[in-house]
Symmetry: C2
Subunit: 118 residues, 2 copies
Amino acid sequence: MILTEGKTKHIECLEQMLPIRDALDVISGKWKMLILTSIMHGNRRFKEIETSIPKINPKVLSKELKDMEEHQLIKRIVHDEYPVLIEYIATDYSRTLKSVMMELHAWGVNHRKKILGQ
Amino acid sequence: MILTEGKTKHIECLEQMLPIRDALDVISGKWKMLILTSIMHGNRRFKEIETSIPKINPKVLSKELKDMEEHQLIKRIVHDEYPVLIEYIATDYSRTLKSVMMELHAWGVNHRKKILGQ
DNA sequence: GTAAGCAGTTACCTTAACGTAAGCGGTATG
DNA sequence: CATACCGCTTACGTTAAGGTAACTGCTTAC
């Protein structure tokens, strides 16, 4: 029955699309995955992160860090010392993104090769 | 030597980040991966693709299809028949994105579960 | 010959992302 | 006591992404 097939295909297709969009909502944008990469490489302080990412500015960094904290990808820790020290660390949950990031990285390397080869 | 370590870390970190950004430049945005999913599920005609993706509008679809053709993710084929028939198909190159899409999908499914469970 | 489908385009508008430059309250440094 | 570092924030743009509504030229269907 063609109608049923069509409907099934349509629903299947939607079921593929919606989670992909959910994921992209969290990771897309120019900075989030770069910030997460930086933090995962051991950068913890605001300035460290800022200087590790070319061309980012403090306003954008500040906003993205807040977003990422809301999404539970990072944790902001305030140490009550003198002077006050603030650290950003990656959460366990953010580590579930590692395979996504690895795939993105691998594809990006390949893509750059392709573009330069043209 | 701490200086060397720091420098190495810094460069290593950049080498992770740049390809990730290259990849995100191609796939990010609200629609591209949804369109590719739709086409990979067998939707070929403009209207088919349009109706398969909730809330997309023809202007956006048209623009994204052009972008994706430039990036060689899809091919636009014009059949010189009566009436003229136009098809969009996924390229071999777009299939290199499949593992990225699968990771995004898997993460998205998990993320939705997490959010609903809160 | 009117209506409807296809594959879009056009003009216009809103929203969100991103950027620049400067500054602020705190601490520490010469 | 001036200068500078830290972790930001504020005010003020600019750019790009995305949305709405209407319309076009072509074809076929009633």
